[in-house]
Subunit: 229 residues, 2 copies
C-alpha cells in the first residue's frame, strides 16, 4: 500500500489563521487518509510580495467578514482560534519572519518525522492566534519551544541555527517552492496525484481535495466516533 | 412546520461564476432543506466599488488559480461552467448592468414564486459562463428569455421595464441591501436564524452554513440517490 500513498505538501505560516485551520485538519486526516503529509514552513510575507497580492483585511467589509468567518470556523473545526486584539500589528507590523526561521530550524534538526515541527508550529499559533501573545522575541520562541517539549539547550541551539544563512535560505527556498506551485497566499496544499501536482488554496476545499485524491471527507473532526456529514 | 422554515437570501450577479455554483447548489437544496430561498439579483460592480474591493483576477497567480479552481468545482458540482475566452472583457469591460436590470424586471413582473427568475438567470449564466456569448445586447437578452420559456411579447415588455427608473432603483436597492449585510463580493448568502442574519460569502461555506441552520450537507448534488460524502 505504501506506494499508493499520496504525498500532500502543506505550505503554511503561523501568522495565517486559515493556515492553522488547514494544519489541524490535515494533522487529523494524516492518520485517516492514505497520505504522506509533508509540513512546509514558509514565509507568507514573501509570497504576498512576490505575487503582488494584498492582504484581504485591507478592505473593511472583508476584514469584518473574516473576523466572523474565523470565529464560526474555529468553533466548527474545534480549533481554539481567537483574533488578536490588534491583528494588523500582529500580522503586518510584527510579522512572522523570526518565528518561521525558528520553525525551519526545528524542521532542519528533526530526524525521523515531523512531530516537533508540528508541536512547535501549534504552540506558535496558540500564542499569536489564541492567546494574543508575541511571536517575535527570543523569549516568546523559547516559551513556545518549551511547551512543545524541547529542552532549554535544544532551543538555545535552534535559536542560533535560526539566524544562520542556510536556514534563511531554506525558508526562502520553501517560499519559492510555494510560488512555483502558484501561491498567492497560505495555506497552500499541494497534492501529488499520478505525478501531477494539484494545488488547493485556503482551508475550504477539503471536500474537493478528498475527491481529487480518492478519499472521503467526513468533516473537520474525522477521529471523533460521531464524525459524520 | 412552515414557521420553522429558515429564510435564505441569495445575492448574486450573473457575471460572477462562483455565484452560479452557489445558485445551483441552493436551487437543489431548496427542496431538500427546510428553507425558503429568496433570489436577490444584484449588481456586483456596485458592490466592488462601494466596498473598495478589487477583483481577484488582477493578481496573476490568483487568476490562474481561479481558472483551475472553477474547472475543478464545475466538474465536482456538475455545473457546465467554462471560462469565456476573454474573461476580463466579459466581466469588466462589458459587465452585467443591463443583464441584471433585465433579471430585476423579470423578478418584478413575476408573481407566485421565482421560477422565471431562476430560469432567466441560468440562461444568462449559460451564455456568459458556459458558451462564451454576449449578455449585454437586447438580442442576447431576448434569446436568453426565449430559452427560459418567456414569450416574445413578454420579453419585449420586460426589456422596456428594465430601462425604467423603478427597476434601476430596485437593482440599486438590492445591491445596497447586500452592502448592509457586509458584502464585498458575490455570492452572498444571508441565513436568517432566530431573527439574526448570518452572512456567508462565496460558494465554499455550505458545510458550515448547513451546520448553522441545523441542516445536513451531503455534497453538491443532494438529489442524486448516490449522493453521499
Amino acid at each position: 500500500m505504501a506506494s499508493s500513498r499520496k504525498v500532500l505538501e502543506l505550505f503554511y505560516d503561523v501568522v495565517s489563521p486559515y493556515s492553522w485551520l488547514g494544519f489541524e485538519v490535515l494533522c487529523r486526516y494524516r492518520h485517516v487518509w492514505n497520505i504522506d503529509l509533508k509540513l512546509r514552513p514558509a514565509f507568507l510575507g514573501g509570497v504576498m510580495q512576490s505575487s503582488g497580492n494584498k492582504p484581504p483585511g485591507l478592505v473593511p467589509n472583508k476584514f469584518l467578514y473574516m473576523t466572523k468567518d474565523l470565529e464560526r470556523l474555529a468553533q466548527y473545526f474545534k480549533v481554539p482560534l481567537s483574533s488578536p486584539s490588534n491583528p494588523f500589528e500582529a500580522m503586518f507590523e510584527k510579522g512572522s519572519l523570526t518565528a518561521m526561521r525558528f520553525v525551519t530550524a526545528v524542521a532542519e534538526k528533526e530526524t525521523g518525522g515531523d512531530a516537533q515541527v508540528e508541536k512547535v508550529s501549534r504552540e506558535l499559533w496558540m500564542r499569536i492566534w489564541s492567546k494574543d501573545q508575541d511571536i517575535t522575541q527570543p523569549a516568546s520562541l523559547i516559551e513556545a519551544g518549551l511547551k512543545a517539549g524541547l529542552s532549554a539547550s535544544e532551543i538555545d541551539e535552534l535559536l542560533k541555527l535560526a539566524q544562520s544563512q542556510p536556514i534563511k535560505d531554506k525558508l526562502k527556498a520553501n517560499t519559492q517552492k510555494a510560488m512555483g506551485y502558484g501561491a498567492f497566499g497560505f495555506p497552500l496544499i499541494v497534492c501529488h496525484v499520478d505525478g501531477k501536482p494539484e494545488a488547493f488554496f485556503g482551508s475550504d476545499r477539503f471536500e474537493l481535495l478528498a475527491h481529487c485524491i480518492g478519499e472521503k471527507w467526513v468533516g473537520p473532526q474525522p477521529n471523533k466516533p460521531s464524525a459524520k456529514m
